[in-house]
Symmetry: C2
Subunit: 395 residues, 2 copies
């Protein structure tokens, strides 16, 4: 997205590298920046001035001085720019504009039909994004990136959905290219569960480097952060746990064509199907959650068993990835402790003690906002990278 043939106003390995130190939000003096970077005081002073001129950093009060006049301190100015974050689901979408710290400034929810195709849905996204900017009273030039989550596999480096089963018309569609015809900023696209993992981490576990987010809804998937980085795998489909076979699976057919998959046993529709077969009047995963909340015994038992099935697959995940946090989200997680109890029962029984000694298995804290905050993180991470800052400076 960055044209490296054109010069950057900051110069390569210039102010953008200095900014990398400041993006954590911690205030630093010019002297502190000079000693951290080994750069000359005069160089640091010039680069700080460039970043101040761009509005990316701001003076934040004075450091305690050891004598003489106090030294000014500088830190990231999260209000300097905004990003547009979109969580596109099968039947609804959430848009938000956030600052550079990921705080939501304005949010908008609306039913959509992802099957209406990319031009329709992305057209809506562009129009709504512009309107939200206007509502906020922000200049369009303040928008510096767009992060989009979609309900299917994405080739992250091109931003193209790849064989997404519930997104007809989106296969290999150039999402960034289309959006950039209308809003000329970097556009980052990823799978919805991946961005939920980013959002959950940002909201509840900023210091954790090994976190697995599990979405239990119409489907079951996971987003894996390991070594501090989202793991997308060779083709961008890492974390796709819905079609791992579970012990209880037997011959239960799955829509993928195989049998005994986790998703065929423990997803919302699977629970509704099994309860309906047992004579309970339910039509969807949402109905099952409502029954659980009202204390319906069979529904509670079904949800707990789904938790055990999910736990079986997560036991393999714990052995493979050795995470410190597993967060369970998605619409079925609203069934609360019953789902979590089943997961914990199996993971804690079946894992090596050393792997679970420091493992937290918890309900998603970001909940319904996980995806939109994660989409914002995806965009912010790009904007604040050395490449992104050089790009901003060159605009």
């Amino acid at each position: 997205m960055v044209d490296i043939s054109r010069g950057s106003a900051l110069g390569a390995s210039g102010a953008s590298e200095l900014f990398q130190l400041l993006r954590d939000g911690r205030p630093r003096t010019r002297a502190g920046l000079a000693s951290s970077t080994g750069l000359a005081r005069s160089t640091v002073a010039a680069r700080v001035d460039e970043l101040l001129a761009l509005g990316l950093i701001t003076a934040v009060g004075d450091a305690e001085s050891t004598g003489g006049r106090p030294a000014s301190q500088f830190a990231l100015n999260p209000a300097a720019r905004v990003v547009l974050a979109a969580d596109l689901g099968a039947s609804h979408a959430t848009l938000a504009i956030t600052d550079l710290a990921g705080s939501i400034l304005v949010e908008h929810n609306e039913p959509i039909d992802i099957a209406e195709g990319p031009e329709h849905v992305l057209g809506w996204l562009v129009d709504s994004g512009r309107r939200l900017l206007d509502e906020l009273g922000r200049d369009r030039r303040d928008l510096v990136a767009i992060g989009i989550g979609v309900p299917g596999p994405v080739q992250h480096d091109t931003g193209q959905p790849v064989n997404p089963p519930i997104m007809p018309g989106w296969d290999r569609f150039d999402v960034p290219g289309w959006v950039q015809q209308h809003l000329e900023v970097p556009v980052l696209v990823d799978n919805d569960v991946n961005i939920m993992a980013l959002g959950e981490r940002a909201v509840a576990w900023p210091a954790e480097e090994h976190l697995v987010f599990v979405k239990v809804a119409t489907g079951i998937g996971s987003g894996i952060i390991s070594g501090g980085l989202l793991q997308r795998g060779a083709l961008g489909i890492a974390g796709d746990i819905g079609h791992v076979r579970v012990a209880r699976g037997g011959d239960v057919p799955c829509h993928c064509g195989n049998r005994g998959c986790l998703e065929a046993l423990a997803s919302g529709p699977a629970l509704a199907r099994d309860l309906r077969a047992a004579g309970v009047d339910v039509h969807s995963g949402g109905d099952v959650v409502e029954l659980v909340k009202r204390g319906h015994l069979e529904a509670i038992q079904a949800v707990r068993q789904a938790g055990r099935d999910i736990g079986e697959v997560l036991t393999a995940c714990v052995s493979l990835m050795n995470p410190s946090v597993i967060a369970i989200g998605g619409s079925m997680a609203r069934a609360g402790e019953h789902l979590l109890a089943g997961v914990r029962e199996v993971v804690y029984t079946r894992s090596m003690p050393i792997a679970t000694e420091h493992l937290s298995i918890v309900q998603s804290a970001a909940a319904a906002d996980a995806a939109v905050i994660g989409a914002s993180m995806l965009a912010i991470h790009h904007v604040l990278s050395p490449e992104g800052i050089d790009d901003l400076a060159a605009r």
Copy 2:
């Protein structure tokens, strides 16, 4: 390991950063380096001179010129320094000295007993390492780092084994600290399967960023490279697949205290136990491999079933990590295609087509050298990092 309070001869963000471009071995001109880094020609020239003086790069012939005299090209000089690589097993050890490209210059194998404790084993390592340097006729100051693989979990940042089941006396032992009393260079320690993954990648798949190495021997474990990086997990025990339950596991007791673990079904000792119970005269996994090589039908069937059990766990791994390569190594892999056939049968049947379309499941190419080459890679990666190069320059 680097004392940042002392000045580096190269200066912070100086020649060591330039060197990061050159460490891939590809020759570059001063002009090429200037345009890649945005540094002034005069700065590049000075830094190239520093790296030449250290011997870390060397002139490698002239670039084709567009007129005028040809421009000199520079590249990593792998012969400049050496590292000591050690693969410590339960009952044998391999030591090697390699150059900075990981090529083995001299190698030595010897039976050891890891249970004799760290001071005994590491004392042997130090003595043997010095002797190998003398054999090569290299000055001891040419040794710039040591990489060590051990048969148990390791806290990678401290280099301390943590509760290693078959390494009595090693728990929390400060391996780097002890070795550095005798050889004053950085010492990197990791689990043997992790370094085998690094070695396998270096030997056979240098361009792959998503590789899983599975060691099938007395135990079963894996080393996971994802996004180009070894994934160690929160506590350094990622990849520990030996104690994931498999469908065929039932009540078979495992030495970990649980039942039905992969290792209790598909490891060398498990196969020997089951064949012995069926009246076959075998005492070890090695005996089983010999029988397979002689075409013994029951042994072949047992090994193929072990492959299926391993494949069952790897199916979860494929869904979670979406690797492009799974390499099977360890002593039982010498049983050849029979083990591999069982793995492939289950992984290709049970995985989503998109996940296996570009997945290679192969026998380890590095074979017996995987660990020692991986230990060398661990050391070289540290030495050639910005921190490592600054450290070298300051010596």
